[in-house]
C-alpha cells in the first residue's frame, strides 16, 4: 500500500541518519585511542605493527611535563569555576527574576563575549596585564578565563531563576528564617541542579582554553592544551594521542554527571533555543 511504502522509506532514512551520525561522531576517536598504544604504526598498516605503553607511562611519569600541566589546568579551571559561581548567581538572579530598565542591554552586553571572538580582547588586554604584573601569571590566566565563562554561567543561572518562585523566600522569612538560612535551606536546594550544570560548563570552558592561556600566560603558564598543541606539532603521535585522552577525561565526566541533571527537556538548553 502507498502509505506502507512511505513508512518503510522513512524508516530506512531514519536508520541511515542515526547510523551515519553515530559513525561520524565516534570515528575520530578510533585512531586517537589506537595511536596512544602504538609504537610503530606506519602507512599502510591498519593496526600498529608494534604496541607499547610508552606514551602512557610518559604521561603519568613524575618527571614529564604532563603532571605540572595537568595541575595547572585543574587549578586554573577550579579557580575560574569557583569565581564564576557568585558572578553567575547574582547576575542570574537579577536578570531572571526582575524586569528592569536596560535589562535587554545588560543581557546583550553579558552575552557579547560568546559572539565577539576572544582574539581582539586577549590581544588588547595583554598590554594592561603586563602593566599590572598579571601577564605570565596564573592569576592573570584565571582572570582572563572569566571572560568566556561568565556569559554561559549567567545565561544558565538566569534560566534557573526564571523558573524560580521567590515567594518561597517570603514564606520562609515569615516563618522566622534569617537571610543565611533562607539562602541555605530555600534558595540553594532550588537552584542546585542549575548551579551544578553551570559549574560543569564553566569548568570545561576554562579547561579547554588555548588562545587566552597562550597569550596571557605567555608560555610561562603551561596548561594541558598548550602542552597538547606542542606535542601535536612535534609529530610524536603516541604521546599526543595519550595526552588527548587525558585531556578529554573531565569532558566525559561532565557528560556522565550532567546527564543526571539534564533530561532532554532541560530549561538551560531549551532557553538557549529561545534566545
Amino acid at each position: 500500500m502507498d502509505q506502507e511504502e512511505l513508512d518503510r522509506a522513512a524508516g530506512c532514512r531514519h536508520w541511515l541518519v542515526v547510523g551515519g551520525m553515530v559513525t561520524a561522531v565516534l570515528l575520530p576517536f578510533i585512531p586517537l585511542i589506537i595511536w596512544s598504544f602504538a609504537r610503530r604504526w606506519f602507512f599502510p598498516a591498519l593496526w600498529p605493527t608494534e604496541w607499547s605503553g610508552r606514551a602512557w607511562s610518559y604521561v603519568f611519569s613524575p618527571g614529564s611535563q604532563v603532571l605540572p600541566a595537568l595541575l595547572n589546568s585543574v587549578l586554573v579551571a577550579t579557580a575560574v569555576t569557583l569565581l564564576s559561581i557568585p558572578i553567575g548567581l547574582t547576575a542570574g538572579r537579577a536578570i531572571g527574576l526582575y524586569r528592569f530598565r536596560g535589562r535587554t542591554l545588560v543581557q546583550f552586553l553579558i552575552l557579547a563575549p560568546t559572539i565577539v571572538p576572544a582574539l581582539a580582547v586577549a590581544m588588547g588586554i595583554h598590554v594592561a596585564f603586563i602593566r599590572y604584573g598579571l601577564a605570565d601569571t596564573r592569576l592573570g590566566v584565571i582572570l582572563v578565563h572569566l571572560v568566556p565563562v561568565t556569559p554561559y554561567m549567567v545565561l544558565i543561572m538566569s534560566s534557573v531563576f526564571a523558573n524560580y518562585n521567590p515567594d518561597f523566600e517570603a514564606q520562609a522569612r515569615s516563618l522566622g528564617a534569617r537571610p543565611w538560612q533562607v539562602f541555605r535551606f530555600v534558595l540553594l536546594p532550588a537552584i542546585w541542579p542549575g548551579l551544578v550544570v553551570g559549574s560543569l560548563f564553566a569548568f570545561i570552558i576554562s579547561w579547554s582554553q588555548y588562545l587566552l592561556t597562550l597569550l596571557i600566560g605567555g608560555g610561562q603558564v603551561v596548561t594541558l592544551p598548550i602542552l597538547l598543541f606542542s606535542f601535536a606539532n612535534s609529530g610524536d603521535n603516541p604521546i599526543t594521542a595519550a595526552l588527548s585522552m587525558v585531556f578529554i577525561a573531565p569532558a566525559l565526566l561532565f557528560l556522565l554527571l550532567s546527564s543526571r541533571y539534564l533530561q532532554g527537556r532541560s530549561a538551560a538548553i531549551g532557553g538557549f533555543g529561545k534566545l
Binding site: A24, I110, P117, A120, S244, L255, I269
Partner: protein, 288 residues
Amino acid sequence: MKDRLRIPLLLAPALVVVVVFFVGGLALALLQSLGYMPIIGRYEVSLDAYRAVLRRPDFYQSLLLTAWIAGVSTAVSTILALLCALALRRAFRGRRIATFIFQLNVPIPHVVGAVGVLFLFSQSGFLARLAYAGGLIREPADFPALVFDPLALGIIFEYVWKATCFIGVILLAVLLSLGESYEDAARTLGAGRWQRFRFVILPLLLPGILSSSILVFAFTFGAFEVPLLLGQRFPSALPVLAYRSYTDVDLNARPEAMAMSVIIALIITILVLGYMRTARWAAGSGQS
C-alpha cells in the same frame, strides 16, 4: 537592602568582569590599532595600521578563506543538525544510546577534535590506510589532501563534527519541549509529512536554529586553534594571520595585528546583528 540598589548590586560582579576585561580589552585593542602604544613611545593616533592591512593581498586571501570556512561549516552543520534532531526525537530501540553518543562531542575541546581529524584525514592517516586496504590508492600521495589543503576541508570537517552536535542538542531540546500537539492539529487538517515539516516544525524551530547557527558562525569565523593545527601555512585563516603578526618580533607590526583583530570582531558583530535583524523581520511578518 534598599530596593533601588538591589539590582545594580546584583549585576555588579558580572558587569565588572564584562566591562573591565571584555569591553576594556576591546577598547585597548582599538587604541593600539590606532597606533597608541605608550610602551614604545607612540602617542599619536592614526589609521595607518588599517590602511596597511587593507592594502595587503594576504589579508584578503585570509578573509576569503575564513569566510568560506565559516559559511560552509555553519550551513552544513545546521542542516545535518536538523536531520539528526528530527531523527532522535521519536522513540526507537537504542534511542538512549544514540542520544548519548550525539551529545558526546559537545564538551570535547576543539584541539582534541583537530588532533583526531589529523589522525583520520591526513594522507597517511586512518582513512587513507582504509583506502589502501580497499585497493583504492597505492601510496599516501594518492589520497586527496584533506588537511593543510587549500579548501580547508579538514578544518571544515572538525567544525561540522562539533557544531552539528552542538546545534542538534539545542534543537532536540526545543523539539522535545514542543511535543507533537501542533503536528497532530495540522494532521487532522490534512497536512502531509512534508507540509507538516514546512509549515509547523520549521517555523517553530526557527528561533532555535537562528540563535545556535549564529553562535556557530561567529565562533568558526573568529576561532584560532583548529586552523592553526590543521590549516595551510598560506593562506591561513584570518585569526591565525593576526596572531602571527602579534607575535612578530617587530613591535611595529603590533598595530596591524590589532587592526586585523578589530576588523575580525567588527565583521562578526555586523554580520551577527544583520542576521538577527533579518531573522526578526522574517519571523515578524509571519512568513517562513
